[in-house]
């Protein structure tokens, strides 16, 4: 167990990170992600209000549709990344555990008179991820198999009232399930009773998301990195790019037009030695051009993988980079993310 954002969380279960990772890619893994923040935003113009804090298209969401977006600051950096679901009379937010108090304070400060923020303290969050997730969950709940990626529905699972999202942080098909606290253990036990489901700790959660090319807040994105530098332009709708109207829009729209000076890229080190976060990236003449922000061993890739920021001139696929690991220079090259193909259910 390790302390994580004020919670005691398992890095791994007895099976270990490699086995847990492979199990999730082959069958299904169960993750307790109840440390994440869940909240409700209400108000007459709640979508327009939230759009002043995020570059994602919130007004254009259909009921039950989920958007990945970021809270930006005035300098165009990222305060947190989050999921926003349109729930008819309100928006449902899921934010990072380590940022949630600051996020809620930010919403209150910026939107206090305009929206009502209700922090949900009585619900847990469980993720079921992997190619067998849909088949397993459909054994306990009606209608989950045909749900599309990035859609949410209110569904009873084995009689437990849940908010079921077809989404996740592994690159695999799967669900994130918001469940009342007093039924969360019951739900976890029902799912873990399935032979194809194993419990997965923080260690494999990290290797799975890294292989999927997904950002970890505080590592791959932070208050200094813009969504454009981070390669998250896809999460900013056309209307938002044209209209702006969110914190940091000046920098972000300028970077869309003029290209950012650095970019987040996937990096494949040669050989077997992992390069971890903070490792320095240099060009062939030993000039520093960036840093690794996430790196380690990719169990499905079966070798070292990394992500980091490099000066824009070095961001093209197949560009050769040098990584400094324990004083030695490792050859590596830029690759197109993700490292492992994403298997989302598009219907």
């Amino acid at each position: 167990m390790v302390p994580f954002a004020g919670y005691d969380m398992p890095v791994q279960y007895p099976a270990g990170i490699l086995t847990e990772h492979r199990h999730t890619r082959a069958d299904a893994g169960l993750f307790d992600v109840g440390h994440m923040g869940q909240a409700i935003l209400r108000g007459d113009d709640v979508a327009a209000a939230l759009e002043t804090l995020v570059p994602g298209d919130i007004a254009g969401l259909e009921e039950g549709q989920i958007r990945y977006t970021q809270f930006t600051n005035e300098a165009g950096g990222i305060l947190d990344d989050l999921m926003v679901t349109q729930r008819g009379d309100h928006l449902f937010l899921v934010v990072n555990a380590g940022c949630k108090d600051a996020d809620y304070a930010h919403i209150q400060e910026r939107l206090g008179g305009r929206v009502d923020l209700e922090i949900i303290e009585d619900r847990g969050l469980i993720a079921l991820q992997g190619p067998k997730a849909a088949e397993i969950l459909s054994g306990h709940a009606a209608g989950v198999q045909e749900m599309s990626f990035m859609r949410l529905r209110e569904i009873e699972i084995a009689g437990i009232p849940c908010l079921v999202s077809r989404s996740g942080y592994t690159g695999e098909d799967g669900y994130e399930i918001s469940v009342p606290n007093d039924r969360a253990v019951e739900l976890a036990e029902i799912l873990l009773a399935e032979t194809a489901v194993a419990p997965i700790g923080l260690g494999a959660r990290d290797t799975l998301r890294l292989e999927a090319g997904l950002c970890l807040y505080g590592h791959d994105i932070d208050e200094t990195t813009s969504p454009i530098e981070a390669g998250l332009l896809w999460s900013i709708g056309k209307r938002r790019r044209e209209e702006g109207g969110f914190l940091g829009a000046t920098r972000i729209i300028s970077e869309i037009a003029n290209k950012p000076s650095r970019r987040r890229v996937g990096i494949l080190p040669e050989g077997r030695a992992p390069a971890r976060d903070h490792a320095e990236i240099t060009d062939g003449s030993k000039n520093k051009i960036g840093n690794i922000t996430s790196g380690g061993f990719g169990p499905t890739v079966n070798g070292p993988i990394a992500m980091g920021y490099v000066a824009a001139d070095f961001a093209a696929v197949d560009t050769t980079l040098q990584l400094t690991v324990r004083g030695k220079s490792l050859n590596s090259k830029v690759i197109k993310l993700p490292f492992v193909q994403q298997n989302y259910y598009r219907g």
């Binding site: 270990g16 990170i17 490699l18 086995t19 260690g203 030695a273 992992p274 971890r276 061993f297 324990r326």
Partner: protein, 125 residues
Amino acid sequence: MATVKFTEAHEWISMDGDVGTVGISDYAQAQLGDVVFVEVPDVGAAFKQGEEAAVVESVKAASEVYAPVDGEITEANSALEDNPATVNTDAQGGGWFYKIKVANLGDLDALMDEAAYLAFVETLD
């Protein structure tokens, strides 16, 4: 039976004449979790006691493996490059890292025997 000694940094050294075989303890491999990379020293390299002589990386993190005594490397276990998981499955056997010609055999007296090491490990949990 060969003399096996342990350090507080969880290395073991098994003596055969004046050459010791060095690895990490079973306790250490269990703490590290799945080992995915091992860097062993070059033959001929000399180390002082406590200097970093090898590196072991699990999925979680990189850790240094220190020289338990002063000496010179006579052999490295290159098989670990292709099969680093041997450190998990056989830490105190096939998962050895390197062999070192011990400069001062008296250095070994300061290290723990297995019973003392296991008692030391008990105090860590």
